[in-house]
Subunit: 167 residues, 2 copies
DNA sequence: TCAAATAGTTTGATTTGCAAACATTTTATC
DNA sequence: GATAAAATGTTTGCAAATCAAACTATTTGA
């Protein structure tokens, strides 16, 4: 069990995850670019503002299947945030690239992130800043580690198991 | 613009949000209780392990409509994680309550959170712990504040606006 | 050349969500 | 007490996001 102060900490932590997503949704989807969802913004983010990317590459970055990406890109092309064309060298490959409007949305999104970070770090002294950065990095690593661990377990389970709910 | 160290911080921060959700998904949905999604777990969480709650109450806690909750509960009842019955006093009201299996899943989920927090806090000294708790609380408050701000803006926009994308 | 591999798309299904229409029950008003 | 208004859920129609599997087109390798 956790003591009350640690419980507060846990609650804050969880609420942050909920609220960051909700805030992003509110902040970016509802103001300008009100026709973009969070998922669509993340797709624009994964494509990035520079060279054209392939479908598989982008799907892998997002951790989704190419099938899912295809329909997402259909919509983003319809809404004029993304351009799609076949690669001239390898005609199996499809290239996607942000349009002017897509880049604009991308930059707005990046700006939101920058603002969030700035506002968090600016009021801190140099030492405290370093400490926070260190701690966030630790959290990041811990979570990544956990993710890995559970991914392995999942693989192991899938290898033998065939369902069975009661632990 | 952010300096490189702050950029790392930003990246860590964002990756945490992605990974926490993914890890929860992996950790809890794929091991035991493999038939529960994150959203469903959150519903169990919102119902809580004690007294029976009403639909509206639970929907409000989750920030979804009662219509959405109705179909979610349909599924959870079918999967035997939740019981549903009409209130005897006020027959408009529907009460929902976790079954034994539902409570089990609830406790597993809570345990995951506890473990996460413990692992984060345990290696820290008393001072550092306090500092981290303070910082996480600050982040929480900052995000909540942002959320509020954008919610207000949204209301204002909805009051007049009628669409227009180019900033 | 032709089979295998690769890159995307299409299709059918599920989950999650909203808004609006609806049904039932309670409360308040006349 | 009857009836209109309010409250509580459910149903329906729709859209987004996702996957798996079947499919198409193209390239590569044997």
């Amino acid at each position: 069990m956790l003591n009350p102060s640690d419980q507060d900490f846990a609650k804050s932590l969880l609420r942050i995850f909920d609220n960051v997503l909700l805030t992003e949704e509110k902040a970016l989807s509802k103001g300008y670019f009100s026709d973009l969802s969070i998922a669509e913004l993340h797709t624009l983010e994964a494509i990035g503002p520079y060279e054209a990317r392939t479908m598989s590459e982008t799907a892998a970055r997002l951790g989704i299947t190419t099938g899912t990406l295809t329909v997402a890109i259909d919509r983003l092309v319809r809404k004029a945030y993304v351009e799609r064309y076949r690669d001239l060298k390898d005609r199996r490959v499809v290239r996607i690239r942000l349009t002017r409007q897509g880049k604009l949305a991308y930059r707005m999104h990046a700006k939101f992130h920058t603002l969030l970070v700035k506002r968090l770090l600016d009021p801190l002294g140099e030492q405290e800043k370093e400490r926070l950065i260190r701690l966030v990095k630790d959290i990041d690593e811990f979570i990544a580690e956990q993710y890995h661990k559970y991914s392995e377990e999942e693989k192991a389970l899938k290898a033998k198991d065939s369902g069975g709910k009661e632990p």
